[in-house]
Symmetry: C2
Subunit: 342 residues, 2 copies
C-alpha cells in the first residue's frame, strides 16, 4: 500500500505556492496556480491537484514559460474580450479576464473571452463555476497536444479537447460539467501503464490503427474520441474554437513546437458567458433559474442519477475539515522542488 | 422492392408547398417549410425531407399549430435577439431572425438568438449553414419530447436534443455538424420497428431499465445518450439552453402538454453566432479561416476520414441535375393531402 501524507487545504496552498516561488514563479502567478491546485484537491479532483506541480516546474526550468508574464486585457468588439497571457501560465490570465467577461455578459447579454498565448495545465471547471457563481451561464473550451484521432482516422490530431459548461443555481453551487472529447483522460492511460493494467476497449488504437487495450501501444498510437463520430465532431469544434478562432495554435502545432519538457502546451482558451436575465422578456433571471430547478428535480427523482458536479461538491463539504492525503512520493518530490533554488 | 417516384428539386418544392397551402398553411410559412424540406432532399437528408410533410399536416389539422403566425423580432439586450414564433412552425421564425442575428454578430462580435413558441420539425444544419455562408461561426440547440434517460437513470426525460455547429470556409461550403445527443435518432428505431429489425446495443433500454435491442421495447422504454455520461451532459446542456434559458418549455413539459397528433413539439431554439474577424486583434478574419484550413487538411490527409458535412455536399452536387426519388407510398400520401381541402 502506498504511504500517504495528510495535509490541510491551507497546507496544500502553502506547499504549492512555496514550490512555485522557490522556482522563480512570480508571486501573483504562484498564488493563482496554488488557488487552482487547492480547489482541485478540495474537490477530490486529484489529477489537477498537487500532482500537476512537478509539470509546472518542468516548464519553468526548461525556460518554456514566462514566469512573470503580465496578462494584457483588451476589447476586440463590444462583446468580445481578449487576454494575451504573454506566454505565462493560464490561471492569472483567466483571473484577469473573469470580471470583465462577467460585466460584458451582463451588459451585452452574451460575451466571449479569448485567452491566448497561455500554458494551460488546469481543469476548466473552476473558470465556468466562478462565472456561474455570479449568476451567469458559462462555456469554456481548450485544446492541448495532438493525442486523439479524427473520425475514421488512425493518427493523433486533436487534443483531448475538453469543454466545460456551468449553469447557476440559487443557494446551491452551480451545475457544472468539464469533459474531455476523448474517451478517457490521457493521464488514465499513463496510470494504467505505470501500474501494469490494461485499458478498456474503445479508449485507443495502436500505431497501426488497430484497437488496443495495451496502454503502451495506446500511448504510441492514438486516443479515440468519446461516443464515436459525435465525440470527434465535438473535438473538432473545440479545436477550432480554442485554436483557429482566437488566432492561437491548433493542437498539432502545439505538439510540433513543444520542447517536450513534460509540462503544458502553449495555446488558447475560449469562453462564452450568458446572462439568463437578458435572455427572457422582462428580465426575470430568477424565473429562468427556478424553471431549471424543475429539470434538476426530475433528474434526481430517478434512482441512480446525480448531477454532473455532485461528486466534487460532496468532497468539498468534507475536505476543509478533514484535509486531504497525497502519496508520500509526491510529497517528497514537492519538498525536493521547494528546497532547490532554480 | 419499394416502388419509387422520381422528382426534380423544383417538383419537391412545388409538392411540399402545394400540400401545405392546400391544408391552410399561410403562403410565407408554406414557402419556408418547402425551402427546408427541399434543402433536405437536395442533400440526401431524407428523414427531414418530404417524409416530414405528413407530420406537419397532422399538426395543422389537429389545430395545434397557428398556420398564419406572424413571428415577432425583439432585442432583449445589445447582443441577444428574440423571435417569438407565436405558435407557428419554426422555419419562418428562423428566417425572420437570421439576418438580424448575423448583423448583431458582426457588430458585437458574438450574438445570440432565442426563438420561442415554435413548432420545430426540421434539421438544425440549414440554420447554422446559412450563417456560416455569411462568414460566421454558428451554434444551434433545440429540445423535443422526453425520449432520453439522464445519466444513471432509466426513464425518458431529455429530448433527443440536437446541437449543430458550423464553421465558414472560403470558396467551399461550411464545415457543419448537426447531431442528436441520443445514440440514435428516434426515427431509426421506428424504422427498425416497422421493418422488423433489431436495433444495436447501446441505443435504448426497456421500461424496466434493461438494455434492449427490440425496437418496440425501446420505444416504450428510453433512448440512451451517445457516449454515456458525456453525451448525457450534452443533452442536459441543450435542454437548459433551448428550454429554461430562453423561457421556453423543457422536453418533459412539451410531452405533458402535447396533443399527440404525431407532429412536432412546441418549444424553443437557441442560437449563437460569432464573427471570426472580431475574435482576433487586427480583425483579419481571413487569416482565421486560412488557419482552420490547415486543420481540415490534416484531417483529410488521414485515410478513411471526411469532414462532418461532406456526405450532404456530395449529394448536393448530384441532385440538382438528377433529381431525387421518394417511395410511391409517400408520394401517394402527399398527393392525397394536396387533393383534400382542409
Amino acid at each position: 500500500m502506498t504511504e500517504r501524507v495528510s495535509l490541510s487545504l491551507t497546507e496544500v496552498h502553502d506547499l504549492a505556492s512555496a514550490v512555485l516561488r522557490a522556482n522563480g514563479v512570480a508571486e501573483d502567478h504562484s498564488q493563482t496556480i496554488a488557488d487552482t491546485v487547492t480547489a482541485a484537491e478540495r474537490d477530490g479532483a486529484v489529477s489537477h491537484g498537487l500532482f500537476r506541480i512537478p509539470g509546472y516546474i518542468k516548464s519553468v526550468r526548461s525556460g518554456k514559460v514566462v514566469t512573470d508574464a503580465v496578462p494584457v486585457l483588451s476589447e476586440l468588439a463590444p462583446s468580445v474580450l481578449r487576454v494575451d497571457a504573454a506566454h505565462g501560465f493560464a490561471p492569472l490570465a483567466l483571473k484577469v479576464g473573469r470580471e470583465p467577461l462577467a460585466r460584458h455578459a451582463r451588459e451585452q447579454g452574451i460575451a466571449a473571452l479569448a485567452v491566448m498565448n497561455c500554458y494551460h495545465f488546469a481543469a476548466l471547471w473552476p473558470e465556468v463555476e466562478a462565472l456561474a457563481e455570479q449568476g451567469l451561464v458559462a462555456f469554456a473550451f481548450t485544446n492541448s497536444f495532438s493525442y486523439v484521432a479524427p473520425a475514421g482516422g488512425t493518427k493523433p490530431l486533436y487534443g483531448t479537447n475538453p469543454m466545460a459548461f456551468a449553469w447557476p443555481r440559487v443557494g446551491k453551487p452551480p451545475v457544472v460539467f468539464d469533459q474531455a472529447s476523448s474517451a478517457s483522460a490521457r493521464g488514465e492511460i499513463m496510470l494504467a501503464q505505470r501500474d501494469g493494467h490494461d485499458i478498456p476497449e474503445g479508449w485507443a488504437i495502436d500505431r497501426h490503427g488497430n484497437p488496443t487495450t495495451d496502454p503502451t501501444e495506446a500511448l504510441a498510437g492514438a486516443q479515440l474520441p468519446f461516443g464515436g463520430y459525435k465525440g470527434a465532431a465535438i473535438a473538432l469544434m473545440v479545436e477550432l474554437l480554442a485554436g483557429a478562432l482566437i488566432g492561437d495554435v491548433l493542437s498539432f502545432e502545439a505538439s510540433e513546437r513543444d520542447n517536450r519538457d513534460g509540462g503544458p502546451p502553449v495555446g488558447g482558451e475560449f469562453m462564452i458567458a450568458i446572462d439568463p436575465a437578458r435572455c427572457v422578456a422582462g428580465g426575470d433571471g430568477g424565473a429562468v433559474l427556478a424553471h431549471a430547478e424543475r429539470l434538476f428535480e426530475r433528474v434526481l427523482q430517478q434512482e441512480g442519477t446525480r448531477l454532473p458536479s455532485d461528486r466534487r461538491y460532496r468532497n468539498r463539504l468534507r475536505t476543509p475539515g478533514e484535509g486531504i492525503t497525497i502519496p508520500r512520493a509526491l510529497y517528497d518530490t514537492l519538498e525536493g522542488l521547494r528546497a532547490l533554488d532554480r
